[in-house]
Symmetry: C2
Subunit: 146 residues, 2 copies
Amino acid sequence: METNGGFYITQIKQLQDRIFERLLAENGIEISGGQGRILFVLWKSAPLTISEISARTSLAKNTVSIVVDGMVSKGIVTRAINPSNRRQTMISLTKYAKSLQKKYETVSEQMTALFYQGFSKKEQEAFECFLARILDTLTNAEKEYK
Amino acid sequence: METNGGFYITQIKQLQDRIFERLLAENGIEISGGQGRILFVLWKSAPLTISEISARTSLAKNTVSIVVDGMVSKGIVTRAINPSNRRQTMISLTKYAKSLQKKYETVSEQMTALFYQGFSKKEQEAFECFLARILDTLTNAEKEYK
DNA sequence: TTAGAATATTTCTATATAGAACAATATAAA
DNA sequence: TTTATATTGTTCTATATAGAAATATTCTAA
């Protein structure tokens, strides 16, 4: 058997991005993939700093900074300097962003249903457990580099 | 249990890209991630058309066209019109590209070893089987759209 | 054989992504 | 307190990625 897990991951990522963006557009949600990932973590917990968003999305910090620029100009989030540590920028959700959450999650569930088409509950759990392990390995590997 | 396989996939993809590109650079291989994916399929079988590369990498056709531009100017591949169907562009490997294969594969194996750190042979196979199923589902889903 | 449909690729435009370098702030050490 | 170091975020530059539209070629049906 060939081992090309990394190649599979890349392919799946590309397909899922294209399909998910189309689903979002069809449902009138004007949020791009990159913005969606940041919103996903902010909906769980906000405000967050750029570094915290970076850690939770696995995006590079400068990438987060730039995608946040776009979200600010679209009225999705706001920037504010943290007075108790003026190096940090706190990113908060606007009312508009909060109003999008339910609709977004509905589309997200559709996407998950497609993604796991034909999977049993057990298979799905086993698969996500594998993913969590790999994510952990790679996260630690990158940390050790620094 | 939360289901966020898609989010895991995205995170793993980002980390693996950054780590793999660093490994390539450290080994003096001046190939970017996008170029690497195209080379990966060309090393298996060349020449290929833009559409064939697109199908095998799951990249959009216009993306392949543009990444190939960069590879041509770097002397990695060449373009040639297929005389028997002049709509098609055949992409071939240069000697330089062929000379890179072994080194690239060595780095690729290092990356795979890291990726599957702590996985048994059986776990690895089970995981790749899951990935193949999801890739199949998403590939078909996108086809049906068209 | 020709008009219309299908196929293959490229171009245009916009966002995503990250490395490197830089700027600002905070912390630790002397 | 000053200096060195670490942390946090942004800017600059370059490639990756893809949707929409444009172009060129081939196929099909009348």
